[in-house]
Symmetry: C2
Subunit: 245 residues, 2 copies
Amino acid sequence: MTYELFYWPGIQGRGEFIRLAFEDAGVPYEDVGRRPGGVAEIQRLRAASGPGLAPLAPPFLRHGRVVVAQTALVLAYVAPRIGVVPGDEASRRRAHQIQLTIADLVAEVHDTHHPVAASLYYEDQKPEAARRAAGFTAERIPMYLVWLDRALDSNPRGRGRSLVGARCSYADLSLFQVVAGLRYAFPNAMARHERKLPRLAAVHDAVAARPRIAAYLASARRIPFNEDGIFRRYPELDVAPGKRR
Amino acid sequence: MTYELFYWPGIQGRGEFIRLAFEDAGVPYEDVGRRPGGVAEIQRLRAASGPGLAPLAPPFLRHGRVVVAQTALVLAYVAPRIGVVPGDEASRRRAHQIQLTIADLVAEVHDTHHPVAASLYYEDQKPEAARRAAGFTAERIPMYLVWLDRALDSNPRGRGRSLVGARCSYADLSLFQVVAGLRYAFPNAMARHERKLPRLAAVHDAVAARPRIAAYLASARRIPFNEDGIFRRYPELDVAPGKRR
């Protein structure tokens, strides 16, 4: 049964967490949004009526008759089936809790450039974005990174090298994505905060070196970070605290 | 084994979705934050090191040796155990997806009064809040309400009267809470938007009339809505579109 991922073409966005899981598992998936007519198909499923819960927004996954939305829930559904999380309930719950916390972080990253409304352009909310990003880079990035570092430390089977169980799981793939995204969007802030948390960079590097992930990152399937996605590089949102006016 | 809910005293907040599930089930739970020394206990568990994932933030639940955080995941864990969701996997996934979408809505409600930073007072971000609330009340409330109404419609066993399965589940309790909260915080906007979606009010009323929920709502255990919580009544954030300057 084919796995069909429904997500906007042209950005990594929230869909990237799901792409990374399939890529690391070596399990084929259809990236529906990127094939001809794909965006229309996404919109058709969102507007579908009749039995079954239509997703509010991408990403969502279709697997046979199952349609499941919400990034963290898609991963909770698919990860045990493709072998990117240990099978026991406690590990699955742990991975899900980490992914949901990462989802909170991702929503906050989005709101650094869209603090007023997702329906407005960044250019129409720049003063608000500057204020929000100042608090985000000073307070929220370290809060989340310290929590992720402690999560690594608290995994008895991972020895500070994996978040769930003894091997790489989708939680580690998501940690890689968050570190890569934050480095892209907020290089100054990340350089400051990462210095004290070397284990996060080590997990990032270990994930990037996994053969299937390395091949994926080098392929055209990996969409580059860009200013339409969630992690955007706007230098005015990454100003060192002393340099703010 | 006792269920211990860890959440801030004095507000409904995200903890309320979990309280409603226990109250409707008639299953006893300890509301740890509201007993003497409770807040210190919350902070102790958040700062705990050693094996096990320390929660980033309340609410979280302790059940024997299990500690689980993230509102939607707490509900996914506890609901089958206390009988407020059907037992089959498809129903549990459906309820979880609805709860995660409600969590997105709740985060947006929070950010109407805290669009810049959770660490600042509302008074320090009022102009930004006014802009964010304008978009929220005009675009986002109807988007979420229409989706919830369609979710009711798409439940083949619920006949437009329940979100998951044939009877009331925790998803309906959460829908009740969202309708009640939005009515409290944005009475003008809700009056406009609700008019076209009578099924939502019907579910709200049916939940409020359930004997255990009615008893709970009339008790001192139900903390009133207030301006420390997520749903806050600030009239300047609930201005009709035509009246905006």
